[in-house]
Amino acid sequence: MTAMPLKLEGLNVELLPERAVFWPAQQTLLIADLHLGKAAAFRRAGLAIPEGDTADTLERCTQIIKRYAPERLILLGDILHTRLGADPQLAQHIQRWRAQHATLPIVAIQGNHDRELDALNGVLDCQSEGINDAGLGLFHHPPEQTRVSAWVAGHWHPVAAIEGAGDRLRLPAFVLTHNKGLVLPAFGSLTGGFLVNQAPEQKRFITSGEAVFCIDL
């Protein structure tokens, strides 16, 4: 695993190939867009999608927690795909997972999908708005460009296409804008992607799962 060091307005962070960000100064792990319970929501609507995404997403969370041993985990929104009340199994699943990391503080910032995040209060430290933490703004929706200080957000599910040597791939991507704002790729297993093209004042970093590469040189 090869992380990519990056400066956000002077703050050092690391882009992890596991589609997460590590913030060494605060010993904090950041991930965005888990969309837990998505396959189940599809099934309720009559779309026959097999289960597996929620367990896989939480298992990958557990692995990065073990690997980087953070003192805190912050979830940048869209933790749940739909209402928790519609899916009692999901609540149990999350609680079991939480019990494995009982001493780890976990902050959950509300996203547009999290219509019943309050139901997880007590399990997670739920925040209805973004927060400002030691000079870094943490949001679900990427804020307006006029914001002066550094920030990290999710919501877009960015992916980037890379081409060359007769080959082409579409991969999850981190998007850095104006050297101060960072949008994370979606972490959930059953999440699609929004294709981000090259643009001025923007750098895209793709992850192969083993390493992070910058494709806007």
């Binding site: 998505k38 396959a39 189940a40 929501a41 599809f42 099934r43 309720r44 609507a45 009559g46 779309l47 026959a48 999608i49 097999p50 289960e51 597996g52 995404d53 795909h81 739909t82 899916d87 999908h113 890379i162 081409e163 060359g164 040597a165 007769g166 080959d167 082409r168 791939l169 991969l171 297993s189 059953l190 999440t191 699609g192 294709l195 093209n197 793709i206 192969s208 799962g209 083993e210 390493a211 590469f213 494709i215 040189l217």
Partner: protein, 821 residues
Amino acid sequence: MTAESIHPALLAWFEAQGWEAARFQRAAWSAYAQGHSGLIHSATGSGKSLAAWGGPLNEALSAQTLSDSAHTTAGVQVLWITPLRALAGDTVANLQAALTGVGLNWQVEKRTGDTPSTTRTRQRRNPPQALVTTPESLSVLLSYADSAQFFSQLKTVVVDEWHELIGTKRGVQLELCLAHLRGLIPELRTWGLSATLGNLNQAMDCLLGNANQGQLIEGPAGRALHIESLLPQPGTRFPWAGHLGTEMLDGVIEYLSAPGSCLLFTNTRSQAERWFESILHARSDWLEGLALHHGSIDHELRERIEAGLSQGQFRCVVATSSLDLGVDFAPVDRVVQIGSPKGVARLAQRAGRRGHQPGRESRILCVPTHAFELLEMAAARQAWNKGELEARVPLRNSLDVLAQHLVTLATGPGFHAEDCLHEVRQTHAYADLTQSQWEWVIAFITQGGAVLAAYPEFQRVVKGIDQRYRIATRAHAQRHRMSIGTINSDTAMHVRYQRGGVIGSIEESFIARLKPGDVFLFAGKRLALVRVKDLTAYVRHSNQRRSVIPRWQGGRLPLSTALADNVLALLAKAQAGQFESPELQALKPLLAVQQRWSALPTPGHLLIEQTRSKEGEHLFIFPFAGRLAHEGLATLLAWRLGQLHPATFSLSVNDYGFELLTDELPAITQDTLRAALSTENLVSDLLAAMNASELARRQFRDIARIAGLVFQGYPGRGKSARQLQASSGLIFDTIVRYDPDNQLLSQARREVLEQALEVQRLRGALEQMATTHLSIYATERFTPLAFPLWAERLRNRLTTQSWHDRVARMVNQLEKAAQTT
């Protein structure tokens, strides 16, 4: 049929039109009167529609005479199925003209996806006697609880342009609907109208199902077909790849300059855009008399063009297969085909658009877009003269279509498993459906499949205490009706001017590649993208010269076996110094270059060329098996070579051969090639190779949509359905991982093998290669045969390298490029 049994009103109307009922028309009417079903086949514009319509008219006229003449029968008597909703309007007008002509007091109306909901509601309460509709709309009609009541008076179903539906999932959907209607009305008569095909008996089996006792009625013998090619001026350098040569444009313009109307057919929409633009650029004074017609253009505009064509308003209409269909629009004076038609039957059909006066021969001018297409034109003439027409192979056991149909019936009146299985097995498509396949589909629509049985939240179809299967909730019913339909397509986006006015629709994947300000060519206009909002691309006019042309899905048919065999035969003659046709004469210098640098491919010799360029090492192989089989061969060969040495290949195919491009090829010898081209483990190797590539995943897109694994959302309410949106690729990956026995996965693989790769043809090619001589040439540059492959942009990839290595390699290349610039 004797004159007495034909109603005088029908004969009188024919006479008033100056027509005489043709023998095949009388035969069809007579068969209809005796209660038969059947298939009528003949050339375009020979009066097929009246052959089918006359039967019901005759019967209704007789019934009207017997009873009170003011009394009209209630309920739908005749269902007329048309493959394109754009044709429904024309059809209604034609059927109405005959009704008026014979004085029958019937209503004829259309019902398609475009019909407003108020009209639909009225039609359901007060149905017309004749209803013109599409296969999809028929399915929707069956999804209402009272469908049996609605169709209780139905006497006959007429399926227009049946040849267009055979071999497609829409055709399978229609087979299922017809079986259901026959279950409701055992004495139902089914009549099909078809162009001439190589497998007419099979076409009739599909239409009529297993109880087929139908009559095959042949229309008047086809007119003579004269195929000529536009030849390049002697001494001009002829484009080797798929470029439009200006030399050819000049010839076409000259041909169009003569008075009269012309239809100019292209094979793809992008080609149509390019030719329209080039003609207009060369002759801006023709602006008023030029039109562009293809499937993405707004249908009102298309209807205006079709009407204008009938009134002789246009000098030239540039069209794609969108005008292959179309019942009886006015004939034109000239027909031009740009590029190879890829099949003899299609060429004949297009040529038939020229004047229908008796005794006038069909004539078509073929314009090559690269040199070797001249060969195909000469081959088409040879095949036509020998009567070698292509067959359309019907589909079997498509479980996705069956799942959709069963949910449709569950949404409507519901069904009993046993009765329904019996009904389904009456079709040609599911005659040998196994019990386990049937049970899987039932499990799929009730529980989501075996794996999902553990998750009770899945809801779609439920079994009632009366053992009937019904849709779970009204919301499910509504979503299902929205999803009925099997035509594959990317999500279509409206293209609209900022100030209003829809121009047409383009696949979302094309728009997604554009940035605001980018200029593209669409509907013959230069448009700049302004913004994208709610599945609409807002555009404005642009004068910028540089632009991109959208590449639409589909429309790229493989060269038929009939044509390919004739091409090779012609090359063998050329090898022997015989250049009999004008096309071969024109190709003589180019074939000489090919022979000097390498060799001519002929039966019994497999030509192989190896070239090195800046891009890497190229391997060209020319089996002449059509582009689909070549796609499979290229994938197979790349995978097998990749087993010797991990590598990433880019593959390029056309109808003559394929190219493998990679950084470094393993040494190519007779032995390595023989081993790599063996038929041993063909299917398992192909499947392994396909998992590495993306073919099955791509094929799954349609299957997922048809079987109801993805939901495309409500029209105009794009965002509210967000929660249920996931790409079929993502769903494919999920199912491969968590439900590997899902039958829809095996169907995707089977479809890739049978349709996307034409595995039968592929196997045949391999068997042939096993006994042919392998002629391997190291060439310094791309030969005339290799060049079009190199220039072919649509490339596939196959890799045996890890994901990470691929990314690292591409990034490495990017960095190198960045350093040098």
